[in-house]
């Protein structure tokens, strides 16, 4: 199958064989073509060349409806659930021959019969907006099963789950496949999942199939080599073993309300010393966003204090400059940048009003800003058409590099980072992590909030778990146990 988008060849002569009743993993980095391939299978894109055969017979899939009729279903990365509706309403929405007037008693009976066969329980009457990410994911999968799909495509299904939830869901998928009920296509970039749950794997790189075969015959290093080719990844920076020095960031009895007026962060206290990385583990939605917004100055705390360097911190620009505080919020394109402005302007946000960028306290020197931008683009390896290019023409990894360049170029005394490597490829991820470690070695106090436990285990000196707005568990790096941490991240802690 071949698919081009204008100049970009997203898929180049890709062939795949799915055995019925197997779990087939498609492994590749961002941009490798995994999503494009399954979207062609599902009828969202028409391939330029290539055929699709089901049970040996050629089929043309022009739109998702036809794919559904063939029994193909897909669980997306972003949820396709309707927040204001209950789980029951969401489940019956996808039914093909839903009558004009819905007979709820019949539908309920059908749903209950289905519940009995499902491997996990779903609360049918709660509005979806109130479900946690793991429950939403289960509901999404349940929806596809309810609709009778035979081939299920899962697009990075475990990115929002704790390790135990991920194992549970993938285990269920494997059982259903082995029982002959399903064929599963698993899109992932996590080797652990491929090796533990997949029967077969196909590796994509830049739109080509570069390797594949039964998962049992391929080892982790072989998969890594196939996935990223010969490009070198930055080695993780060595951890300097100096003791933490001095006060860095202190949160004392901090409480924050969320957008609905409910407490998102409940009376939280934490001290991050200079030269230390404290990792905050937790599934998103447990107050992390509100906490970072308070530290960035985007939200007022309800009560409690924040201190930086021993002094009360009121998030004014002067204090940020004086204490060297920088925040890398998640989704930087939305939270920390102006997409319509140029790369140079975005890079100058933190110091455009200081000399040498501003002369006589009044006039902004575009040349100075451009000079600074060029230096940062070189130092941090940002791929852009030039300092004057608009920020929204950059890829996700380069936007993150831009925000990182802005944060780490000066003197950083306190760094708050939230999911800094989300959605980035292996090379960019390694580079960003090593720069954060370098900042820590230089004496910065780093607060790292992340959903990726591997990241926390690699970087953090101490790990705390945030659940429902509270810090419920703390461990040092030496004593960290993935399963205990994962258990505290859900209600079974």
């Amino acid at each position: 199958m071949t698919k081009r988008f204008g100049e970009l060849v997203a898929l180049d002569d890709v062939s795949l064989r799915l055995g019925s009743g197997t779990v087939h993993a498609i492994l590749g980095q961002n941009g490798a073509g995994k999503s494009t391939l399954v979207k062609c299978m599902m009828g969202y894109h028409r391939p330029d060349h290539g055929r699709l055969l089901v049970d040996g017979r050629e089929q043309g899939i022009a739109n998702p409806r036809q794919a559904h009729r063939l029994g193909f279903g897909m669980v997306y990365q972003h949820f396709t659930l309707v927040p204001s509706m209950t789980a029951a309403e969401n489940l019956i929405l996808g039914r093909d021959n839903l009558p004009a007037v819905i007979r709820w008693d019949e539908e309920r009976a059908r749903l209950e019969a289905f519940q009995r066969e499902m491997p996990f329980a779903i609360d049918l009457d709660r509005p979806v907006a109130g479900l946690a990410a793991g429950e939403k994911q289960k509901l999404e999968i349940g929806k596809q099963l309810f609709l009778g799909r035979r081939v299920l495509i899962l697009d990075e299904p475990t990115s929002v789950l704790t390790p135990d939830e991920a194992d549970s869901i993938l285990g269920v998928m494997r059982e259903l496949a082995a029982g002959g009920r399903l064929t599963v296509v698993l899109i992932t970039h996590k080797f652990r999942e491929v090796l533990a749950f997949a029967d077969e794997v196909t590796v994509l790189r830049a739109g080509h199939v570069v390797g594949g075969g039964p998962a049992a015959t391929l080892g982790r290093s072989e998969l890594v080599r196939l996935m990223i080719g010969s490009a070198a990844i930055a080695e993780p920076a060595a951890r300097a073993t100096t003791a933490p020095r001095g006060a860095g960031l202190e949160l004392t009895a901090l409480s924050v309300l969320n957008d609905k007026g409910l407490l998102a962060v409940r009376v939280v206290s934490l001290a991050v010393a200079a030269g230390e990385i404290v990792g905050v583990a937790g599934v998103s939605g447990n107050g992390q966003r509100e906490l970072v917004e308070v530290l960035a100055g985007q939200r007022r705390p309800e009560s409690g204090t924040v201190r930086v360097g021993g002094e009360p911190y009121r998030r004014t620009r002067g204090e940020m400059r004086r204490h060297g505080v920088f925040v890398l919020a998640e989704e930087p394109l939305r939270n920390a940048c102006v997409p319509a402005m140029s790369v140079a302007e975005n890079l100058a946000f933190s110091n455009f009003d200081e000399p040498p960028n501003t002369r006589w306290g009044l006039v902004v020197s575009r040349r100075a800003i451009e000079r600074q931008a060029r230096a940062l683009i070189d130092r941090f390896g940002i791929t852009a058409a030039g300092p004057a290019a608009r920020l929204d023409t950059l890829s996700g990894g380069n936007v993150q590099r831009t925000v990182l360049a802005r944060a780490l170029s000066g003197r950083v005394a306190t760094l708050v980072a939230q999911n800094p490597c989300a959605g980035l490829d292996v090379a960019a991820t390694a580079e960003i992590r090593s720069r954060m470690m370098a900042a820590r070695n230089d004496g910065a106090a780093v607060l790292l909030l992340s959903e990726d436990l591997d990241e926390l285990l690699e970087l953090a000196d101490r790990i705390v778990v945030m659940f429902e707005g509270r810090f419920v568990y703390e461990t040092s790096r030496a004593d960290a146990d993935v399963h205990v941490i994962g258990a505290h991240m859900t209600s079974r802690g």
Binding site: N63, P64, R65, H68, M74, Y76, H78, F79, T80, L81, V82, P83, S84, M85, E89, I92, L93, G94, L98, P99, A100, V101, I102, W104, L257, N258, D259, K260, G261, L262
Partner: protein
Amino acid sequence: MSELGWWGVLIAVAGGAIRVSTPYLFVSLGETLTEKSGRVNLGLEGTLVMGAMSGYAVAYLTGSPWLGALVAGLAGALFGLLHAAVCNLPRVNDVAVGIALFLLGTGLAFYLGKPFIEPVAPRLPHLALGAWSGSPAVRAALEISPLFLVGLVLAPLLAWGLRHTRWGLVVRTVGDNADAARALGYSVERVRALATMAGGFLAGVGGSFLSLYYPGTWNEALSSGQGLMAIALVIFARWNPLACFWVSLLFGGATALGPALQSVGITTNYYLYNAAPYVLTLVLLVASSSTKHRLVGAPSELTISR
């Protein structure tokens, strides 16, 4: 004072609530449906006035007020279609289009309606439910328009429809998570266009109530901003059709306060009492806003909640 005294005021306000609430009710039900599909239609004031004019004109020319009401609805649906057609284009802001249509609707209605200001068109009939009473105040209060009864049935019907019909679920999906609707194979643009047309139809019929029942004439001062207030009403009612019904009654009562007090002889500060509905709008919006949390129950695809 009349022989009923202060009871007279209460009865007049109640009667006014029933009578005057009808345009609010129709416009707010229409806008509820449109906003449930994820679009804000601020042009309903223009649609209302256009409906009033076209209803009056057709009633005058054909002699049938019911035909006038129907044509008013169709004119409203056409305006809804225009709103949807422009908003379906990429990167168009539905708030701006709504305001543009508001101006277009009122301007066009005044322009086309000039010949119809003097002629008298037949009015919609009323049901005299108060015929048993000897008091003219009670009789006046209990003259109910059939359109009110239509609205009375329409509100619970809309509420039921949003939960129990496929169409209702699809509209709610399109308004809450357009990606989900697309993944299911529904055309988001088509659903929103149909919902906006239905909303426009109801607003047009609400407008025809003004020109064909109460106050029952056509002139350029006919609408006192009901179309715009109804949009605030929908937000206050939290997009719930049944709540729209009760809040419409509240607004109707507030509008009737001035004339009701006049009827018992309180003529000082006349303009102040006539400002009651506008003050009520402001008070409700301020009371239901908050700096700390956002609107609960807003369809997630609305521009105001994103």
